[in-house]
């Protein structure tokens, strides 16, 4: 982030760091969850298999379970001695706890239901008659998915990504539980705001960061709306 904007917004280097980190964590969380979200959304919208309701509930769990509990669950699974975190650490030297990657993972899990819901909605809007038409024109399963289904569900994917990104900027409970509150590593915007409110004389920092949070969230939502409109025009539904 260029330094010359610093005086304009009146943010200190530490504050900028938190903003930057938040953006990075949110972006990574979206990148990580997008493809699995499309897969899960497909299963939920089109799949007919036993346990579909269970999968649906499992995906939506982070929406209803306290974020701290999600963070605790991640600690159990991905901790250095956890069933997933152990092998990751021992075999690949990968540590997720207390790292930026860990913060991104916690954010991804929390925003996963948001993406799945939006993608699924987008998929359910795709007229399966069009896929049938593509079949009769000689398009096989992958061909149909890439040329018909994916472009037609793309507004849903994009809406999900933007919403998850905006929500990911503000993830607090799961991040602080799983990745802790390390400035420059895992101290994202909400964590920095929380820390500022706990520090003597931190009121100004808290106010500035809160304003940034607000601006980012609003911009995200406006962007999502704008993209959705353009996409609908492109898809000929305008």
């Amino acid at each position: 982030m260029p330094l010359h904007v610093e005086p304009v917004l009146g943010l200190s280097a530490e504050e900028w760091q938190a903003v930057r980190l938040s953006l990075g964590v949110a972006a990574r969380s979206v990148l990580v969850s997008l493809i699995p979200a499309v897969g899960i959304a497909w299963l939920l919208a089109r799949g007919r298999f036993p346990g579909r309701t269970l999968l649906d509930a499992l995906v939506h769990l982070p929406l209803v379970v306290p974020p701290v509990v999600v963070g605790w669950g991640l600690l159990m699974l991905f901790g250095v001695r956890g069933p997933i975190g152990g092998p990751l650490h021992d075999w690949f030297g990968l540590r997720l706890v207390f790292t930026t990657e860990g913060a991104a993972l916690a954010t991804a899990v929390m925003s996963f239901p948001l993406i799945v819901r939006a993608v699924r909605l987008g998929l359910e809007h795709v007229d399966q008659g069009l896929e049938a038409a593509a079949r009769t024109l000689g398009a096989g399963p992958l061909d149909r998915f890439v040329t018909i289904t994916l472009p037609l569900m793309s507004p849903g994917i994009l809406a999900g990504a933007v919403t998850a990104f905006a929500a990911g900027l503000g993830e607090f409970g799961a991040v602080i539980t799983f990745a802790s509150n390390i400035p420059g590593e895992t101290q994202t915007l909400p964590l920095a705001i929380y820390t500022a409110t706990q520090t003597a004389g931190g009121e100004a920092t808290a106010a500035r960061l809160a304003l940034v949070s607000f601006v980012l969230a609003i911009s995200g939502l406006l962007l999502a709306e704008l993209i959705a409109r353009r996409m609908h025009l492109l898809l000929g539904r305008g």
Binding site: L130, R135, G138, I148
Partner: protein, 409 residues
Amino acid sequence: MLEVTLRHRFGRAEANGFALEAGFAMPDSGVTALFGPSGCGKSTILSAVAGLLRPQEGRITLHGTVLLDTAGGIFVAPERRRCGVVFQDSRLFPHLSVASNLRYGLRRAPPDAAGPGFEEVVALLGIAPLLERRPGRLSGGERQRVALGRALLARPRLLLMDEPLAALDAARRGEVLPFLARLRDAAGIPILYVTHALDEVDALADRLVLLEAGRVLAEGPVEALAARTDLPLAARRDAGSLIPCAVAAHDPARGLTRLAFAGGAFHVPLRPEPVGTHARIRLRARDVAVATEQPRGLSTQNILPAILAAITEANAAHEVFLRLTVGPTAILARVTRDSVARLGLRPGMALWAVVKAVTFDHAGAKATTGPDLPDAVRVAEPVADGAPPDERPIPPRPSPGRTPIGRLR
């Protein structure tokens, strides 16, 4: 040759499930219409042939290739059947331009598959000005024309049309119908055409498969089935014979066109089609009267010598069908039992069939004329009852190249 045998039951057997149990064969050329009321199973049959529906039991072969054989466990995926489908709701891909829609099937067709080229199809369907547009910006009629082109360009071995005109209003139907007739003549592949509109059958079909409640009632050439009085077709208001004709001459001074058929000719109000155009006209049984002596002093233009071949029951208690032959052509007339008794009508009698010039309804034409000419002919309905033909206002003659005119009332 397409051969189809299907058994399919919707819903639970003990419930009032709809059962389809149908079999028919269609030749390698021309249009075979699957005709019947809504819910008779005609669209289900088409979906099964396309492979979009998997029937519980059945066998479908196309040119000897097995597409479906439930007994043998064979089910060829729709994308490998090479059956082009034109859906009622066109189903153009909204995110692609008209040109990309047209090329979608073409790109996926086997390289050795023969068929008309892109430019040829675009010209045939008159969609050149639409190529860069998105389907969302097209009218219903334009959309169906593009859908026709897209299906044809996939180089299919069989074209399946599922009520392609049913979603259009009368004006749009009139716009698309001549293109359908053109496509039929240019495609050179068999077409299975599902419809519940008799005028589309009249205009396009060579063969008819008549369906009712999931069963085939009859199949055969359209003219032959139209002349049968034992089918549900005979109960319709527009029941009658279908007569292949050719435009023999125009008489602009009298405002009449002469349509020749095997065994005679009809005079009808002036038609825009050039001499030589082949048309098929529907002569409704209720529009034909008979006389035992040659009538005189009658405004009616068409008084044809005929032989009464048979008297058959009509669905109404006090009416019968008279089967008349004019040369080799059969004509149906619907009269009351009282008329039969009054005139002493019996098979073998020589009669005069009386047909007003202005009674002719829809008709279809085989394109034997130039590409700019409308292929389907519709013959006008009555202009004004009672007025002698010479005093009738002559309808303005539409310029050639236009789509067929609708009914004149």
